[in-house]
């Protein structure tokens, strides 16, 4: 493929593929439109995200008009890409239509159940699937898969299965009139509830669902090697176990034989319309259209002791203790509040000292019945007054609790069980509501803050509000990202969409440079990770492993843990339970998340665009690609006048000014001083940096190195006569340069303006002719130098692609200048690259060169 490109680029003056296409100026103006739209979309996305923060009062009308605006921008974006790359990415229209019609359905109040399998094993589920499997399943599978906490094996019966069941039995049309009548007060809850439940129980499972359930059960049976399979079957509805817990509103069936699964499934669905559940929804402002039920299906844990743990005492959060209730056998009686239990208070801080315990007489316990179901039996005398948990078990529990709390960034209500083998299972984890205590806590903040030591404050821009506490972890490259520890504060020089991989693990994110409306900021918002960008000093001031508190509300970074802030974060705004909040949040899920992260990934295509953000990013990347491609093939444009740049080095460079890139031309020759284009100026400054191009010795070492090169590789050889025209298309803020120097092909595409979000520089370096090992050595050298200078570099054989985006104008100029130096420098390197040591040596030489601040003057 690279050879193909190379050949085409050599042949392009003859072939002129685009000779009859739109003019470069036209295409470039479309490109600028795309950049403009791209910015507007990111702005609007950020603005909509802001509304979830709680500061704003907005209504459905706002959501509707913002969505309309967004759809309009994205559609225009697709249209504009299509005009510069006709019919190349038609799949974008499909992606757009799908996303947009889902958003419109949401706005009309229809439920939008995501397309998915009917059944999903826990091993494939993560928190991202909460719309597919319900929050209960999603949270549990997430901690099982991600935190490697032991959870019961099982699978989720998805919301799609629910939809299939409802459709199959034509239930929607029968339920709607009933709930409508109930909402209007024409029917009693008891009557409506019983009618709907009967309708649901009378239905039958679609064949496909039965088939998938049987298959999932076989999977479980294989792993268990038990004769008969008994299951715990629980509700996992939309909204359940989130800010509104719906605790105890729906059904849980314990110890059901696997062969009864189909009926049990129907029972759980029916419980969505229990009287309690309906009243709860009415009270909490949930619409009846929001009833969507996924089901959790788990192997029944043979529990010897079970219980519930609150990772923070809701009665007394300041005491910093966890509360554990436990009893012999199954935990259901504790959860339902039927019986009293042993109570333990453990310190949140390691080593989790036991602060208090209340052991009661436990005369009876619930156990799984032999043929299924549960029964309550007497507890042997010796156990009745014995503590149900040992000290070791309490410590183990506390460690799990803290880990889960840190992961979900909220105190947790955790159900657990120890099986007869003494193994701890987490059965459920959901956010713990400690609302009632918050007001008191808020008042404590000012006094605590006085004592805290601020490392810096007021630096940079808050991208996502919130409080994060953790140890500093400096990220310099992709390997650092791989090693990123759970709960650390990500500190980096630049923002990067690559952080998306780890951002959910981060307690907070701080960067030296970057924009609060960039890609990464949007991702941070999606995961609600407190983020401050553009601090200027974070990487310098903060030390690896230093414990800090990031207050991304007041914009202060404190040394150590500031606990009062930590509690403040727990304040649960009832606002988050309003219908509008949930609607906007659901819609934003179709807008903001970024799934297309890596342009080199196979899935970087319209087919995999799941959100407007995906489409936007895809188009941005492709538009840049198009403009670069175009400049390969249409070097001459009738409308743009080509002029020659006079340079003090032997380089014949043609300039095409497409808008304010040059002072008014007096002749066909342009002097360096006539360049107005910001990136072109920077590039030329780099190209002409002392020592970069010229053969005059810079230092003894470098001189020796250079003279050895010039002997075998004279600059006259670099005359591009027979290789092709060197071309720069430029405007005031843009430049696209194609250079063939010696055997190297360089392509530079950069936009540098006052608007940080538009700015980018793209550098492509491709060599040829010599043997592959030498070529790739050279590519490695170029790659290393660029990486050292914060570029994102992709190496493929002898092709180097480097990108850098969204830096301020001055920094951007430095980066483009560096490319200039590099172009001049590498022009000299070629057949000399005979061994690997030279790579390091040349990197050193280059450092000396680029450190020199001298300019062409």
């Amino acid at each position: 493929m690279q050879v193909g490109k190379w050949a085409r680029s050599v042949l392009h003056p003859i072939l002129g593929r685009r000779a009859k296409g739109p003019s470069f100026i036209d295409v470039f103006s479309k490109f600028q439109t795309i950049l403009g739209l791209n910015n507007k979309i990111l702005d609007l996305m950020a603005e909509m995200g802001d509304k979830l923060g709680g500061d704003y009062i907005f209504d459905k009308q706002y959501i509707r008009s913002a969505c309309g605006q967004m759809a309009d921008y994205v559609y225009k974006l697709i249209y504009n890409l299509d005009t510069i790359a006709p019919h190349k990415y038609l799949g974008l229209y499909d992606a757009f239509s799908k996303i947009n019609s889902e958003i419109e359905d949401e706005l009309e109040g229809k439920i939008v159940i995501p397309e998915s399998e009917l059944v999903m094993p826990y091993t494939l589920v993560s928190r991202d699937f909460s719309d597919v499997v319900g929050a209960k399943n999603a949270n549990l599978a997430e901690i099982g898969n991600f935190l490697r906490v032991r959870i019961p094996e099982g699978f989720a019966i998805t919301t799609m299965a629910f939809k299939t069941y409802m459709d199959h039995n034509d239930l929607w049309s029968q339920i709607k009139p009933l709930t409508d009548a109930w909402s209007k007060g024409d029917m009693k809850t008891r009557e409506v509830s019983s009618k709907i439940q009967t309708l649901i129980m009378k239905g039958s499972l679609p064949a496909d669902l039965k088939k998938q359930l049987r298959k999932a059960l076989e999977g479980l049976a294989e792993d268990q090697s038990r004769e008969r399979l008994f299951l715990a079957i629980r509700s996992s509805a939309w909204g359940e176990d989130t800010e509104s817990t719906f605790a105890g509103q729906f059904l849980s069936l314990l110890n059901r034989p696997a062969e009864n699964l189909f009926d049990a499934y129907k029972e759980i669905l029916a419980s969505a319309y229990s009287q309690n559940a309906m009243e709860y929804r009415r009270e909490r402002g949930f619409s009846e259209q929001e009833v969507v039920m996924a089901v959790a299906c788990q192997i029944m844990v043979d529990a010897s002791v079970s219980g519930v743990m609150y990772t923070l005492d809701p009665q007394d959060p300041q005491s910093e203790v966890m509360v554990v209730s436990a009893t012999w056998g199954l935990g259901a009686p504790i959860v339902s509040g039927e019986t009293a239990a042993d109570q333990f208070k453990i310190a949140c801080e390691p080593p989790h000292e036991v602060k208090g315990l209340k052991i009661i007489r436990k005369a009876r316990r619930m156990v799984p019945g032999d043929g299924g179901g549960t029964e309550t039996v007497p507890v042997p005398d010796a156990l009745q007054t014995k503590a149900s948990l040992t000290h070791e078990q309490l410590t183990e529990l506390a460690e799990h609790g803290i880990m889960i709390e840190r992961y979900f960034k909220k105190p947790q209500d955790v159900e657990f069980a120890y099986d007869s083998g003494g193994r701890l299972y987490i059965l459920q984890a959901r956010p713990l509501n400690i609302e009632s205590q918050t007001a008191k806590l808020v008042c404590d903040i000012p006094s605590t803050l006085k004592k805290a030591h601020a490392l810096f404050s007021g630096k940079g821009d808050i991208a996502q509000e919130g409080i994060g506490i953790g140890k500093v972890f400096l990220v310099k490259n992709d390997e650092d990202l791989e090693r990123f520890p759970e709960g650390a504060v990500l500190v980096a020089r630049n923002t990067s969409p690559r952080f998306a991989k780890v951002i959910r693990k981060a307690a907070a994110v701080l960067t030296d440079v970057g924009s609060p409306i960039g890609h990464m900021a949007t991702i941070a918002r999606e995961f609600r990770v407190p983020t401050i960008v553009n601090t200027g000093i974070a990487t310098r001031v903060l030390k690896q492993d230093q414990e800090i508190t990031v207050d991304a509300e007041e914009n202060v970074i404190y040394e150590g843990k500031v606990k009062a802030l930590c509690y403040y974060e727990f304040v649960e705004e009832p606002f988050e339970e309003t219908y509008e909040y949930r609607l906007l949040r659901r819609i934003l899920k179709k807008i903001s998340p970024l799934n297309l992260l890596d342009p080199l990934d196979r899935k970087f295509s319209p087919r995999y665009c799941k959100t407007f953000h995906d489409i936007t990013r895809f188009i941005h990347e492709k538009a840049v690609e198009e403009i670069i491609e175009l400049s390969y093939y249409s070097p001459k444009d009738a409308k743009a006048q080509s002029l020659h740049l006079e340079l003090p080095v032997p380089l014949d460079l043609v300039l095409i000014d497409i808008g304010e890139g040059l002072e008014v031309a007096r002749s066909k020759k342009v002097a360096i001083g006539d360049i107005r284009s910001v990136p072109m100026q920077a590039f030329v400054r780099g190209l002409l940096s002392p020592g970069a191009w010229s053969t005059e010795p810079m230092s003894v070492d470098f001189g020796g190195f250079m003279s050895s090169l010039t002997r075998t590789f004279s600059s006259s050889l670099a005359t591009p006569r027979y290789i092709g025209q060197n071309l720069a298309v430029l405007s005031l803020n843009y430049v696209n340069i194609s250079l063939r120097l010696g055997y190297h092909f360089n392509l530079i595409d950069a936009y540098v303006s006052e608007n940080i979000n538009d700015n980018y520089a793209y550098f492509r370096f491709l060599g040829g002719v010599t043997d592959l090992s030498r070529r790739s050595r050279r590519a490695r050298l170029v790659g290393e130098i660029l990486t050292m200078n914060d570029f994102r570099v992709d190496l493929r054989g002898d092709l180097v692609v480097a990108r850098i985006k969204k830096l301020g104008m001055e920094e951007m100029k430095e980066k483009v200048k560096l490319i200039g130096i590099l172009v001049a420098f590498t022009r000299q390197l070629d057949v000399q690259m005979v061994n690997d040591d030279q790579v390091d040596r040349f990197v050193e030489v280059f450092k000396t060169l680029s450190a020199d601040k001298g300019t062409m003057q």
Partner: protein
Amino acid sequence: MEEVSRTSILILDDEPIVCKRLKSALEKKGYEVEIFFRSADAFKRVSERNFDIVITDLKMEGLDGMTFLTEVKKRSPRTEVIVITGFATMETAKESFQKGVFDFLAKPFKLAEIQDAVERAEKKIKEARSKTA
């Protein structure tokens, strides 16, 4: 603070979320707040008693906000009206101010913005009171 001096506010918006959130935010600041989703109900209420401040949306089903605020000002010229609207145009803003509206906020707005507008309106009312007193 004496009961008498509490500033009374009527809020009219057909989107319940706006009323609910404004009510809790303003009650926290010590105001006495009544909310209405339908202009007819609000209209009935202002004919029963005067409010210090009226916060109203402009576009609603039935009696629209402009007519409502005109009525309010006619009945009780001292009542300060704050308009909140999602369809903010120069024309509507101009018309509102001509009718003696105190402030005009485009939706969505920040809680702090409306609280500030209310504080300023309250200040104006108190100044007017002390002059007449």
